[in-house]
């Protein structure tokens, strides 16, 4: 596998995977719904794009590349729309975005993070 296309394509696929993994880390670590949506959707779209470009390079210039291009168009269309829908839903449910510095201190409660949700219930 000393071919240049294999290295470039494989490298892009790995980079896309790492980007998506970083998005997962962001979802866990970010403090608030809106920042989490931002992390998840950005890295999801970007990671998918890198992976698809890498796979397109690996498969050469064949019908598969065209199919991958369609998949890319679909991902670019739907992932940001889904993020928009999520953010809308969060806003309609009453979550206010958390403005200001966020400091992690022991014992500090998370005010301003939205109304207390009934655990397991659907927002009224």
């Amino acid at each position: 596998m000393a071919d240049a296309t294999h290295w470039i394509g494989g490298g892009l696929v790995v980079a896309g995977t790492l980007l998506t993994l970083l998005g997962g880390v962001g979802v866990v670590r970010f403090p608030d719904v809106y920042t989490r949506i931002h992390a998840a959707s950005l890295t999801d779209t970007g990671g998918a794009t890198l992976v698809l470009i890498g796979l397109g390079i690996l498969s050469g210039f064949t019908l598969e590349t065209l199919k991958l291009a369609f998949v890319w168009a679909f991902v670019m269309l739907t992932t940001p729309a889904a993020a928009n829908a999520l953010a809308n839903a969060a806003f309609s449910a009453g979550h206010k975005p958390r403005i200001g510095a966020f400091q992690i201190m022991k014992g500090e409660s998370s005010e301003g993070a939205g109304p207390a949700q009934r655990d397991g219930g659907v927002a009224p």
Binding site: L77, A81, N88, R118, D119, G121, V122
Partner: protein
């Protein structure tokens, strides 16, 4: 260590299975019902990836659409109607099931030790009937996708039964939950708010593409992964998306609930009808070789599939296509009926994007 353990895909297989076990443990542990439902969607998608690693392309397709798509929508719809509180955890109640589960698990491990090792090509499952399908399909049926050949032709009677089961489930849900929006519901205001303009534009772009893709999957079921079941569920996603974004009233105005139920019945009729036609022409039920009368079959132009030298198994080709169309009609309309049943039961029209 047998041959399969040395394959790179075995590590992938182990990693994916461990991921599935972790997700299942999270589903069992969580106390939030919505979280359990979404984890179930993640579980379905992860098992779809695992199925691709296991060379089960058709099954992965079906699992991704059905498990991560329709199943999540139906579960969320039910949760919306029921509006439960948090799942209560009663530790005393959990002791007996835990003991039972450990006991049954131990018995199953004992039973499983008699199975052939993973990936063994000479195991009884893989060496006899399975292999004969791979060998005989090019002669008997002539389509590349062996799974579709077995599903629609060799085991067509099973598939007819499954289609009728799906149809019966749709009728059951319709009888219990109603056929669509309740007539007593007020019509939602005709002006949708500005909030959802992105969703509306995206939905308008996507719905025709989804329908086109569903038909692509249907017709290419012979050549690659695909077929009637996958295409039916994908086709059902289009009206469901429309109802989620524009409201159930708008969707029911466009596609009346009675029409959808009629299409479901038509699908079963087409499938069984193909079988009856084969019987009328002298063969057995669903014996596609007798689908056409011999003088009709002689009139089929040999170059129909692009290869002028190919002129046999026409009955199989057309029979499989008709049967898959029947499955598409029934599965898609049943999924739409199920969704309309759940969505229409709400006391206010929760589907519209206000």
């Amino acid at each position: 260590m047998n041959a399969i353990a040395l394959e790179a895909s075995f590590a992938l297989n182990v990693a994916l299975l461990l991921m599935l076990v972790a997700i299942a443990a999270a589903i069992a542990w969580t106390r939030s019902l919505v979280a359990a439902i979404l984890l179930m969607g993640v579980y379905s998608l992860a098992s779809a990836v695992w199925l691709v690693v296991m060379d089960a392309a058709d099954v992965a397709f079906t699992e991704a659409v059905v498990g991560a798509g329709v199943s999540t929508v139906v579960l969320l719809g039910a949760t919306l109607l029921v509006r439960p509180g948090p799942v209560r955890v009663d530790w005393r109640r959990a002791i007996a099931p835990a003991v039972l589960v450990v006991g049954v698990g131990a018995l199953l491990v004992l039973a499983v030790s008699g199975l052939a090792s993973f990936g063994d090509p000479s195991s009884p499952a893989n060496a006899h009937v399975g292999r004969s399908y791979l060998v005989e399909t090019p002669n008997d049926i002539g389509i590349p996708n062996v799974v579709t050949a077995v599903l629609a032709s060799y085991r067509g009677f099973d598939t007819l039964g499954e289609t009728v089961v799906v149809f019966a489930a749709g009728i059951g849900v319709a009888l219990m939950l109603g056929f669509g929006p309740r007539s007593s519901l007020p019509q939602p205001p005709v002006q949708p708010g500005e909030h959802h303009v992105v969703l509306r534009v995206t939905a308008r772009l996507l719905i025709p593409l989804i329908i086109l893709f569903a038909f692509y999957v249907l017709f290419h079921g012979d050549l690659g992964a695909g077929g009637g079941f996958q295409a039916g569920v994908i086709l059902a996603v289009a009206p469901i998306l429309h109802a989620l974004v524009f409201g159930l009233h708008a969707t029911t105005a466009a596609i009346p609930a009675g029409f959808v139920r009629g299409v479901a019945a038509l699908g079963v009729l087409v499938f069984a009808g193909v079988g009856v036609v084969c019987m009328a022409n002298g063969g057995g039920f669903l014996d596609y070789d007798r689908l056409f009368m011999p003088r009709v079959e002689a009139m089929i132009p040999p170059g129909l599939l692009g290869d002028p030298t190919y002129s046999h198994n026409w009955g199989q080709h057309f029979g499989i296509l008709l049967v898959e169309v029947g499955v598409l009609l029934t599965v898609s309309s049943t999924m739409v009926t199920i969704f309309c049943g759940f969505a229409g039961r709400a006391t206010h029209d929760v589907g519209s994007a206000r």
